[in-house]
């Protein structure tokens, strides 16, 4: 990467034009893919995380050991496959669901597959923060395991879940940049295709700066929301 002539006035002028032309759509693609992927990752990951906590041997609703072991192995397996390789591996699944394996919408499938095990682990962590005393109290009231999960554990861990979902959404946004490399749209695609491949480094930096700003925004909103929701803090 030769940066010597990357930021001359002409180059910057050109980058600005590309910025005005391509960035609005790229920004939309990135947000769209990130939010939809996070949504589905939570839809799958949240119940899985609940099962991980409730179903263990000393949990509120123990499940067969083999089932818990399988679940843990699958989650660890998916978590350990590098994302770029995962994208390629899930192509058949992507084709089945979306009908094609390239493009912005298609990039959602590998993102969800990569993110839901991550979300499941985050949810597991959040639910484990609940004091066993609270769970015992719910049991002493005659709550069913499902009621304990839905009426006690989930509501009590909302601030922690918000923090963790914020972590998930920012991480998934990072992944969208990678999926840009294989045909998904968004800021990642612009950074690689235009910025890197066509030597327009100013564009690359602009894309990165926009990504950084987006992460900052999501993180601040998430943190504020988590604090606002937490009734343990007196305010």
């Amino acid at each position: 990467m030769n940066l010597q002539n990357a930021f001359t006035p002409e180059k910057l002028q050109e980058a600005w034009e590309i910025f005005c032309r391509d960035f609005p759509l790229a920004l939309w693609d990135t947000l769209y893919v990130t939010i939809v992927s996070t949504f589905f990752a939570i839809v799958i990951g949240l119940p899985l995380g609940m099962i991980l906590v409730a179903g263990e041997e000393k949990g509120i609703r123990p499940l067969p050991k083999w089932l818990m072991k399988t679940l843990n192995v699958v989650i660890n397996l998916l978590r350990s496959i590098p994302f770029l390789i995962l994208i390629v591996m899930v192509i058949p699944l992507t084709r089945m669901i979306v009908g094609t394996s390239v493009g912005t919408v298609a990039s959602i499938v590998p993102l969800v597959v990569a993110a839901f095990p991550f979300v499941a682990r985050l949810v597991e962590g959040s639910l484990r923060e609940i004091s066993p005393n609270i769970i015992e109290t719910a049991q002493s009231m005659g709550a069913t395991p499902m009621q304990i999960l839905l009426h006690v554990m989930l509501p009590e861990s909302v601030p922690s879940l918000i923090s963790n979902f914020t972590l998930a959404i920012t991480t998934i946004m990072g992944y969208t940049a990678m999926s840009g490399a294989i045909g998904g749209g968004g800021l990642g695609k612009i950074a690689i295709m235009i910025g890197y491949n066509r030597y327009k480094y100013a564009v690359l930096y602009m894309a990165v700066i926009v990504l950084v700003i987006l992460v900052q925004i999501f993180q601040s909103i998430g943190t504020k929301l988590a604090i606002k929701c937490d009734k343990r803090l007196k305010h």
Partner: protein
């Protein structure tokens, strides 16, 4: 009525099996405020958790009005837990929910419609003296207030029995007193049987009518609080009732004639007994140790006296003291002198 029959519970730990409860037999009558007292590790918490089957007994039965709780299905047991509710040392409120939502949680879990549950919730907040805290969050409340909310929650399903697991141990003495008052009120007004688990004799003394003393998982003594106080038989009981009594071992190093006066629940402690002995019998005894307390307007406790002079004075003192009502007088063996011989 709760009958605990031959209850044993053992846990398997990494250090091998531990017998938390050994063949416990107790009967708790309706309307009792029943104290179960013991040092930490005596098995109190395990015992109370067996009563509502949060812990499954290894052996024995819990009978609630003759119904064996161990034989119930999960569903039936959940129903029973609406009539045997529990409060805890740590209050265990849901911190993310308002007080009202906390109070009505058991009602909502059993499917009572929201409006009806909230109406009942406000009544309960009234009962525990916190009607203005409906929309406050537990974190905004003091410990005593949080325990009141927990009590309101425990009353939501109109229980027959309230289990209190060290419910006042995290509170200061004044708040403890207020919470105990509330529990006594609930017992009297709502007719709820209360089982109080505690390590503090003062709690038993203040509200219980019966007490069982638990040591190493076994009941070493059981009975009316007044009787147990008057005449503690087991050593564990004596240590709990008169923790100061242990000090008398040190005092027994003192040579001389010693007399122990035990007050058995009469008005004796209100009388200037020792002063009268000095004036009327001319014996100026010195007090080596004493611990007296009143339980329900009656005096219990002991005074250990050293009687100056020889055997004649001792006999005179003993005769004088024996005339007082409701006291037991005994001459203490002078261990120090005995050992010297």
């Amino acid at each position: 009525m709760i009958e605990i029959r031959n209850l044993s519970k053992s846990f398997v730990t990494s250090d091998g099996p531990v017998d938390a409860l050994k063949n416990v037999n107790l009967t708790i009558n309706n309307g009792d405020i029943y104290g179960i007292i013991g040092m930490s590790g005596a098995g109190k918490s395990t015992l109370v958790r067996c009563i509502n089957m949060l812990e499954r007994p290894t052996e024995g039965n819990i009978l609630l009005d003759g119904r064996d709780l161990g034989s119930l299905s999960k569903k039936e047991l959940r129903e029973v837990r609406h009539s045997v509710t529990m409060i805890f040392q740590g209050f265990n409120l849901l911190m993310q929910r308002t007080c009202l939502k906390n109070v009505i949680l058991p009602l909502r879990l059993s499917g009572v419609p929201k409006a009806e549950a909230e109406k009942r919730g406000r009544e309960l907040l009234e009962i525990v003296g916190l009607p203005d805290k409906a929309n406050a969050y537990p974190a905004q409340l003091s410990g005593g207030q949080q325990q009141r909310i927990a009590i309101a929650r425990a009353l939501a399903t109109d229980p027959q029995v309230l289990l209190c697991d060290e419910a006042t141990s995290a509170l200061d003495p004044k708040t403890t007193h207020q919470i105990l008052d509330l529990i006594r009120d609930i017992n009297k007004k709502l007719g709820i049987t209360v089982i109080v688990i505690t390590h503090q004799m003062s709690v038993v003394q203040e509200i219980c009518n019966r007490v069982a003393i638990l040591e190493n998982g076994a009941v070493v003594e059981e009975g009316e609080v007044a009787q147990v106080f008057a005449n503690p038989k087991a050593e564990a009981t004596r240590n709990l009732v008169y923790p100061e009594m242990a000090d008398t071992a040190a005092i027994s190093d003192v040579h001389g004639q010693k007399v122990r006066i035990i007050f058995n629940g009469g008005p004796a402690a209100r009388e200037p007994l020792i002063a009268r002995m000095a004036m009327e019998a001319g014996i100026a005894a010195s007090i080596l140790g004493a611990s007296t307390r009143s339980v329900g307007e009656r005096a219990y406790g002991y005074i250990l006296l050293e009687i100056p002079g020889g055997p004649d004075e001792l006999a005179k003192a003993v005769n004088f003291l024996r005339e007082a009502p409701d006291v037991t007088v005994s001459v203490e063996v002078d261990y120090a002198a005995k050992e010297a011989n």
